[in-house]
């Protein structure tokens, strides 16, 4: 039975669509690929540009790019410096004697600790994975009716979601702790995973992106006999792929860096970031290892962003509040 369902993907649907639906489909495809086409066309000399203005503005841009990149380059360079080079006067940015000693030291330190590093790594990977997957599924399920269905209370819920973007989680720290305590989640990883499901910005972005899926496409699928869940899973979800990637990277960023906060006490449940910050806390002698740690924690989120930049921008184009 599952196999039959699988055939009901977007391509299989297209022949069954009527002329107007077909146009809508094309329009959507155009919309989704438009940004690519536009990029090439965009770099044309415009009448409204003066050379002087161009030069001044791009000097400002370059200056800020340096300000933005310098600390990160500094961190990466530091990680490859021998400890003797970190305390010379005047300090140098680039390492003279390139070395992996800091990373090797880090490995040794980790090997000596009571709980193997793999434990912390597994914990972090599990929290990140469970939180991200759960959020993407629940938020998409919720965003679909909010964007495409008509029901009592839709406006109110949409409004509440916009309002709840307007304050940060610091406001709710205390009650959240109490609720997690009541639910008996203290000292379990669920204390971090379950609240992550409710990440509001993710739902908001998903809903905005689903807004542009043409209604005709969904109705055509329904005429073909698909129920709401099938429409959601086989038609809508494949179309909003850029949006899930965006949600994934946003959640990934916040969960990858979590240290368990005040919720997790047991040593064998703690996260990688916690373990690494304990090592860094060792003082001046650990300066080199600390630099290695920074680079390790930094590399993953940045790589994920590098791979998905264009998809994320596609999603963000629909982020506006009307």
């Amino acid at each position: 039975m599952m196999k039959d369902d699988k055939d009901l993907n977007l391509n299989a649907l297209t022949p069954a669509l009527e002329e107007s639906d077909l146009q809508a489909t094309r329009k959507l495809q155009l919309e989704l690929t438009k940004s690519k086409g536009r990029k090439k066309k965009y770099h044309k000399v415009r009448l409204s540009r003066s050379v002087g203005g161009d030069i001044v503005l791009f000097i400002i841009l370059a200056a800020f790019a340096c300000f933005s990149a310098y600390p990160l380059i500094f961190a990466i360079c530091n990680a490859f410096k021998p400890i003797s080079e970190m305390f010379i006067f005047p300090p140098k940015l680039f390492p003279k004697n390139f070395t992996f000693a800091n990373f090797i030291d880090l490995l040794n330190l980790i090997g000596n600790s009571q709980i193997p590093i793999s434990r912390y790594l597994v914990n972090t990977v599990w929290i990140t994975f469970a939180g991200t997957v759960g959020h993407v599924i629940l938020a998409s399920l919720c965003a679909y009716p909010l964007a495409k269905h008509d029901f009592v209370g839709k406006k109110v819920i949409n409004q509440i979601i916009v309002y709840s973007l307007m304050f940060s989680s610091a406001v709710t720290t205390i009650p959240t702790y109490m609720i997690i305590n009541w639910l008996g989640l203290i000292d379990t990883q669920w204390a971090i995973i379950i609240p992550a499901f409710g990440f509001t910005l993710g739902l908001f972005l998903m809903r905005q992106f689903m807004d542009v899926v043409p209604k005709e496409l969904l109705e055509a699928a329904k005429i073909d006999g698909a129920n709401e869940f099938v429409v959601f899973w086989k038609v809508v979800m494949p179309l909003v792929k850029p949006a899930w990637l965006t949600l994934i990277i946003l959640l990934f960023q916040s969960l990858w860096g979590t240290d368990g906060g005040t919720y997790i006490f047991s040593e064998n449940l703690k996260t990688l970031n916690y373990a690494l910050s304990q090592i860094v806390a060792g003082g001046v002698a650990r300066t080199g290892t600390a630099a290695a740690v920074t680079v390790i924690m930094l590399i993953l989120p940045i790589t994920v962003f590098i791979i998905n930049q264009s998809k994320i921008l596609e999603t963000m184009a629909h982020s506006g509040i009307k």
Binding site: G53, L146, M178, A317
Partner: protein, 318 residues
């Protein structure tokens, strides 16, 4: 003639009909509700209920052990009349927000706008460079090394070599420098989600509009920006404002990890650090009612400034 009773009867039937319709509508959309339920249950549990609880707790004295005791407005009175540190925190928060909020917002927009005119590959690289700090976790701790208080600190050594200072400055332990340093680090971190939103929004502005405008007599980039680009991007501008305001009023984590809790003479103390001082479960004070009052003030501060700014942005270009 229709008698009064008949009218009454008619209205009653209409009312029942409406009630029936309403029930039917609810029933018809039960699939929608079912799809939303899992997310909304979590959202209500971890966002809506906490806001309400925080508001209610702010009128009580509560230490997590005994049942909260109603004390009316005492917490608020104490905050504004007897707590000098809160007033410092409030002042610092407002200074930080008034500077980092608008500056970071402008930066995000101006850089997105400039980047948008670059060739494609450079554009990709610049987006990465500008966005990287905000996703680099706690890499902002690097600023501790840059501002380190001995001669090996990069900024000290630079200033010594140029000859501006003779001996190293204790950057992170001198109250006068706390806020400026915090502002620099926050600005470094500030090109986040709103920057991406602007970048994306600029790509969707229809190119034909610019061509038409050039014919209509738009002569320079500033006119083009004001009359075409900004009005087209209003939704993204609103979204970006929400993100930047919320961040700039919520500064706290960076302050604690760079300047400690509490910072020297409370020079980098903000509403959030004050809140954590009283309300964090590993603080010794455990005055949850008092901390909730702080949280409630922060909540309204964020909400009111967001709504005000939205009103202003709605007027842009119209």
């Amino acid at each position: 003639m229709i008698s009064k009773e008949e009218i009454k009867e008619k209205r009653k039937i209409e009312k029942q009909q409406k009630k029936k319709d309403f029930r039917k509508r609810l029933k018809d959309s039960r699939i929608s509700y079912a799809m939303m339920a899992p997310y909304l249950i979590i959202f209500i549990t971890f966002t809506i209920i906490p806001v309400i609880m925080s508001f209610l707790l702010s009128f009580t004295s509560f230490d997590m052990l005994e049942f909260p005791k109603w004390i009316g407005l005492d917490n608020y009175v104490n905050l504004f009349l007897n707590d000098d540190v809160f007033l410092i925190a409030l002042k610092n928060t407002l200074i930080l927000a008034v500077i980092t909020g608008p500056v970071s917002y402008l930066m995000a927009f101006v850089f997105a706008w400039l980047i948008n005119e670059l060739p494609r590959k450079i554009r990709w690289l610049m987006t990465l460079i500008f966005y990287a700090p905000s996703i680099s976790g706690n890499a902002y701790l690097l600023w501790q090394l840059l501002f380190s208080s001995d001669r090996y600190g990069y900024i000290n050594s630079l200033l010594i070599r140029i000859g501006i200072i003779d001996s190293p400055i204790y950057w992170l332990k001198t109250p006068e420098y706390a806020l400026p340093i915090l502002i620099i680090v926050q600005l470094w971190l500030s090109l986040g989600i709103s920057f991406l939103s602007f970048r994306a929004g600029l790509q969707t502005v229809d190119n034909e509009l610019y061509e038409a405008a050039a014919i209509d007599g738009i002569r320079n980039r500033w006119q083009e920006l004001w009359f075409i680009t900004l009005p087209q991007m209003k939704p993204q501008l609103m979204f970006g404002a929400v993100m930047q305001i919320t961040t700039s009023l919520g500064i706290g984590a960076v302050s604690i990890s760079m300047f400690g809790q509490p910072s020297v003479e409370y020079s980098a103390h903000t509403i959030v650090t004050h809140l954590l001082d009283f309300g964090s479960t590993n603080s010794t004070r455990l005055e949850m009612g008092y901390a909730s009052a702080i949280a409630t003030i922060l909540f309204f501060l964020m909400l009111v400034s967001n709504l005000l700014i939205q009103k202003i942005i709605r007027r842009v270009g119209s």
